[in-house]
């Protein structure tokens, strides 16, 4: 009985948990692209994927930040210029559509790729006051 349950559980697991993309898969998917992301029904942000694993992110608010990514323990970790702590995500290829899950202290955020509309505006730094 135990063996049967174990077997069923093992078979069922891939149905729930997808396999995250490796660094190579992520690199080839994103190379040279600008991807827009949404979450929970609203537009969340946009990321431009530059050569040499460099990126530029914006929360669609006119501000952009530069960063880079690397692989760590099966996750893709990003370090941006405004924060030395890496932010690590699991990326999934859902039939040509990128998905990502981010965990910070048990609080999960899930992003999915959405259609872009040319919103990646990067205004310069604040001048004057």
């Amino acid at each position: 009985m135990k063996k049967t349950l174990c077997l069923i559980a093992m078979l069922a697991t891939p149905l729930v948990a997808e396999t995250p993309m490796s660094a190579a898969e992520f690199d080839s998917y994103t190379q040279g692209k600008t991807l827009y992301f949404g979450t929970n029904g609203y537009r969340y942000g946009v990321e431009e994927y530059l050569p040499d694993r460099r990126v530029r992110w914006s929360f669609l608010d006119g501000q952009c930040k530069d960063g880079f990514w690397y692989e760590d323990a099966g996750q893709i970790c990003f370090v941006y210029e405004d924060n030395p702590s890496p932010q690590c995500w699991s990326f999934f290829d859902r039939g040509g559509n990128l998905g990502a899950i981010f965990e910070t202290g048990g609080d999960l955020t899930e992003l999915y790729e959405i259609e872009g509309n040319g919103e990646m505006i990067c205004l310069g730094p604040e001048v004057g006051v």
Partner: protein, 364 residues
């Protein structure tokens, strides 16, 4: 410290962030001040706080009619995070003071305790709720945790999950427990909203964890913190202030929760997103929330009455939220006044159903 820095920005120059933040700082800090004094000095300060949160706020709304938040000259908005963190921390202190004043050995008379119940309850319901809502939308970890702590202290922790993961996803549709069904009264709405948001939030979090490839300890499920945290709050009330303390906590948090639920009710009553031919819901637009432009109540509630823009841009910080009367429906009175009206379903429908019908004909 935080407060002085954020509000102190106005000392630098009148055209910097300070001028925009001043209204939020003043409106929200005054009741914190009164209610802190109430805990130390007794019932009279509760009267002051109550008058401030009701009469004064109402009068100020009328006097400052037409004034709206302005951008600085260079088009930038302040982020307002220091004030939000200050209010979150102040809340955690004030709820202890409130339970002490109302249910503990504070020496207050019955009438003083009653006035304090109303004053603290209105503050938690209008300011703490609005502020915690702001905090849970933040990207940074610690402000978000502070927001969750505020909701947990109000025995409403699940709202921290259900609000972003259920309400924002399904707002103004039948799938959202926190959007009222057509012509539903508040009394029919609130139990479904409370239980529905609890269950759907739990489901959303569990499914999200299952989709991730990581192995999570069951103890890291957010609902564990909500439930155990709530139990801890009740236990602490019992230990420090006894049975009357627990009663005070239940009533006070119930009152605060009701105000949050009436806010959801008022802000989405009668508004529905349509489904396209492909079965997909239309994206959230300006017409899917009710808004209120009144100056002082907007300052008090950190622009929570600018609800359409918040749904369209949930990451936008509160000083930057916008109003557009040509596209966004307006309530006939301020949000707190409409919240009170919602408690009287017959009058509520008499006021609001014609407005809902008018919107429908104008879109068709």
């Amino acid at each position: 410290m935080f407060l002085l820095r954020d509000c102190g920005l106005m000392a630098k120059s009148l055209v910097t962030k300070g001028r925009v933040m001043l209204r939020f700082c003043v409106a929200t800090s005054l009741p914190v001040f009164f209610l802190t004094l109430a805990g130390l000095q007794g019932g009279l300060w509760c009267v002051v706080a109550l008058l401030y949160l009701t009469v004064f706020t109402f009068v100020m709304d009328r006097l400052a009619y037409g004034a709206v938040a302005k951008r600085k000259s260079d088009g930038e908005f302040p982020v307002g995070e220091e004030l939000a963190v200050f209010l979150g921390l102040a809340h955690l202190g004030l709820i202890v003071v409130a339970i002490y004043a109302i249910g503990g050995d504070s020496g207050l008379s019955f009438w003083e305790r009653l006035v304090c119940f109303a004053a603290y309850g209105l503050f938690f319901g209008q300011v703490s709720n609005a502020n915690a809502h702001e905090l849970i939308h933040k990207q940074a970890r610690w402000p978000r945790r502070l927001g969750k702590a505020v909701y947990i202290s109000l025995l409403f922790g699940h709202h921290a999950s259900a609000h972003p993961k259920v309400h924002h996803l399904w707002a103004a549709s039948a799938m959202d427990p926190n959007s009222p069904a057509p012509r539903q009264s508040f009394y029919q709405f609130w139990p479904r909203a409370w239980i529905g948001s609890f269950r759907k939030g739990l489901q959303a979090e569990s499914e999200l964890r299952a989709r991730s490839s990581r192995n999570f300890s069951p103890w890291s499920h957010p609902y564990v913190a909500y439930i155990l945290g709530g139990a801890l709050v009740v236990t602490m009330a019992a230990i420090w202030f006894g049975f009357s303390g627990v009663l005070a906590l239940i009533f006070l948090t119930g009152y605060a929760q009701m105000q949050l639920l009436v806010s959801d009710y008022v802000q989405h009553y009668g508004l529905r997103r349509t489904r396209g031919a492909d079965g997909k819901l239309e994206p959230v637009g300006p017409g899917h929330s009710w808004n209120a432009p009144q100056f002082y109540t907007s300052a008090l509630m950190l622009n929570a009455p600018r609800h359409s823009d918040h749904h369209m841009h949930p990451l936008r910080t509160y000083p930057a939220l916008e109003l557009d009367p040509s596209q966004m429906p307006y309530l006939p009175r301020s949000l707190p006044v409409m919240g009170a009206l919602a408690l009287w379903p017959r009058m509520w429908r008499r006021v609001m159903d014609p407005k809902v019908a008018a919107l429908r004909t104008s879109t068709n």
